[in-house]
């Protein structure tokens, strides 16, 4: 097997982790990885050697995910900042539960979720994320800032709009 193929296969566990976090359920996540791999294999010849294979693959996955989200039955983009808090979370001082985190993550707009996950799981730099998602770094920063604050609000069981501070 050539080096490119080995590199590509080596990325599978990371792609699966990210896809699971992104898609929420296993079947959808595995489909996303499958589609990404297929596209990756078919485009491998055009991959720029010496480039960052991981960033390239995550870019492919991002595009597939965006396409999919566009076609999805649930319009994730339509949620606004004032959406109701999850009713399952009452006490504000509760220790934060993992399951709540997963549920709260689902409630983020897709682009905020993606940004947050690439930072937290992949530890990509903001520039790498901007590259993979094909947006300016400033956009990455505002998505990260909004996503984090929104997630914090959801975890605390309150609405986010009144406390959102973008710039100090």
């Amino acid at each position: 097997m050539d080096d490119d193929s080995i590199q590509l296969i080596a990325c599978i566990p990371r792609l699966r982790r990210y896809a699971r976090a992104l898609a929420g359920n296993r079947a959808e996540a595995d489909d996303l990885v499958q589609d990404t791999m297929e596209r990756g294999w078919s485009k491998l010849a055009s991959w720029r050697r010496g480039g960052d294979m991981r960033a390239w693959l995550f870019g492919i996955m991002h595009n597939l995910y965006v396409d999919q989200a566009r076609k999805a039955r649930i319009p994730t983009e339509a949620l606004d900042e004032n959406m109701p808090r999850p009713s399952t979370h009452a006490g504000q001082a509760d220790p934060l539960e993992m399951r709540d985190m997963e549920a709260a993550l689902r409630l983020l707009p897709a682009e905020q979720r993606e940004t947050l996950l690439l930072v937290a799981l992949e530890e990509m730099t903001y520039e790498e994320i901007a590259d993979a998602m094909d947006v300016p770094v400033g956009t990455v920063m505002s998505r990260l800032s909004r996503g984090r604050e929104r997630l914090r609000a959801l975890m605390q069981g309150r609405s986010v709009s009144s406390t959102l501070k973008v710039v100090k």
Binding site: M1, I9, R16, E38, M98, M101, L105
Partner: protein, 264 residues
Amino acid sequence: MTGNPITEADLHAYIDGMLPQSRHAEIEAYLAARPDEARRLHAYRLQKDQLRALFNPVMDEAIPISLPSRPRRWTWAAQRLAASLLIALSGGAIGWLLHGRIDPHALQASQPRPAGNMKAVALAHQAAVAHAVYSPDVRHPVEIGADQEDQLVTWLSKRLGTPIRPPKLGKLGYELIGGRLLPGQSGPVAQFMYHDNAGQRLTLYVSTEQSDNKGAGFRFAEEGPVNVFYWIDGKFGYALSAATGKAELARIATAVYEQLEKSQ
């Protein structure tokens, strides 16, 4: 102190480890004077920890070739994956054939092969792909381990619809790790995995889909670092894969062949 205003971006870069060390003191002083902000950043750090705790285990899962919830799609997809892998591996012809885009006769005409048909070649390729996917797996190389060999034999025999049993290769220095079920070209196939003292892994891929193939002697295929010996025996197709030398693999293949002959 640089006197530069601290931005929201700086705070995020700080918790993401992307702010130069020279600016840390500045941020720390800023946070020390603002408990609310310190709490907010603490919550962000916690988010990162929780996300990792939540999703890192996915990295240790066995990579699925088939998902029970979507067998058809996944069998098909796995074949396409295998096919695309082969494009990468063999530089085109065989992969395209598996992709169903080239007439086998056309290919045979341009690239003559020994008697036997393309399905047997596909067997070697699929075995090599399965070897490349599973043999490096540290945590989940097999579905059922050798410690439950009886259960493994019963299960695989049932799923393949015919009695199959892993050969014993202890005398050759290879010990059984276990086995797993995989999707083949039209149904289930089995993979047994062995290792030697040095940790070198060997897989035996067993297919029962070879009804169209006439018996054939040993054949050898090379897929990058993976060497494969394969042969057809009635409806059975066997492929032995390892990243070892051809001679060593031939020695093991002969032993496997002899054992399987005796057991029939």
